[in-house]
């Protein structure tokens, strides 16, 4: 059993109005040192697989088939023995 933690974020160049709003509010609060804000989504999954490379293959496939929309999103994941 492996735990996979998937991070999904917008591709560069895709406008994310939320991050702009968050950055503006941070600036209102006095956080002038913040130059960039990115938003995204996070999923944690438990995968039954015989070894880590097969767990990675499953994780890649499910990211591409469902969790992300390749038109606007990129993903990465970390994987560890559960």
């Amino acid at each position: 059993m492996y735990t996979v933690r998937v991070y999904i974020y917008y591709k560069s160049g895709v406008l994310d109005p939320q991050s702009g709003a968050i950055k503006a509010t941070l600036s209102d609060l006095g956080f002038d040192q913040i130059h960039d804000v990115e938003t995204g989504r996070f999923y944690s999954l438990k995968i039954d697989a015989p070894n880590i490379s097969s767990a990675q293959a499953i994780a890649n496939e499910l990211c591409e088939k469902l969790l992300t929309n390749p038109v606007i999103e990129d993903y990465e994941f970390e994987i560890m023995e559960a």
């Binding site: 406008l15 109005p17 709003a21 038109v71």
Partner: protein, 238 residues
């Protein structure tokens, strides 16, 4: 002419679409549940209605796009049947790849619910033949994720092939930043696929299709379809 209205978990525009087909157009219409399937020859027009299907979980339209009924919708689209996606239905068509691009959250980060003006950019589709090119019409818009996005190449292709069907504008027809509440690229409100038989749009024509509602600007989308199907042009025209 036979119409289908697909019902996903959470669809809310299904009743309005059914009503327009049955009581305004006087056509045969059936609901099809998202766990069911159908054959391409079963229907001439398939409507994917609005309303946050499957709670908009994951991404708007993402879960609905992977439901059983969508395999039938794809088959029907390949068989040149007409497919109309309204609001969330448009998002489902994008997620399933029947139309190019994706949607992002509206530029104002809010659920937008009001009438908008759109310009008919392409009257040469089965859905818009009864409009004039450049005609300004008013339709209700109700969405949080209506901000259409596609990469530069895709947009270039949509423009070159005249696949942008509706675009947001002001009352006089000017495409301005203010007249586009979603922030969509090129003020896009609706696009059609390269074959011309799949239309997706964010505004709701089924909510402005009868006098009782004070606006009939959306009715001609449905009437155009009737003319296309029953006028003997259902095959071979793109």
């Amino acid at each position: 002419m036979r119409c289908a209205v697909i019902q996903f978990a959470g669809s809310s525009g299904d009743g309005d679409c059914f009503h327009v087909c049955k009581n305004i157009l006087n056509k045969a219409v059936e609901f099809v549940f998202y766990k069911e399937s159908f054959a391409p020859e079963d229907f001439d027009l398939i409507i994917l209605p609005g309303g946050a299907s499957h709670g908009d979980y994951l991404r708007p339209g993402a879960l609905a796009a992977r439901s059983k009924v969508m395999k039938s919708v794809i088959e029907a689209a390949k068989a040149k049947k007409l497919v109309l996606g309204i609001g969330n239905g448009f998002q489902i068509l994008l997620e399933v790849g029947l139309l190019p691009g994706a949607v992002l959250m509206n530029k104002g980060l809010k659920f937008f619910c009001d009438d908008v003006f759109v310009r008919v950019e392409n009257p040469d589709t089965p859905f818009t033949a009864l409009y004039k090119k450049g005609e300004i019409i008013r339709m209700p818009l109700a969405c949080k994720y209506g901000n259409y996005y596609a990469d530069g190449e895709t947009i270039k292709g949509l423009k070159a092939d005249n696949k942008i069907v509706f675009s947001y504008c002001d009352e006089k027809g000017n495409s301005t930043f203010e007249s586009n509440p979603t922030g969509s690229i090129e003020n896009i409100a609706g696009i059609v696929n390269s074959e011309g038989n799949v239309l997706g749009l964010m505004p709701h024509p089924e909510r402005c299709a009868e006098e009782l509602l004070g606006n009939t600007d959306g009715l001609r989308i449905f009437e155009s379809v009737v003319r296309y199907i029953e006028g003997g042009k259902a095959n071979g025209r793109s």
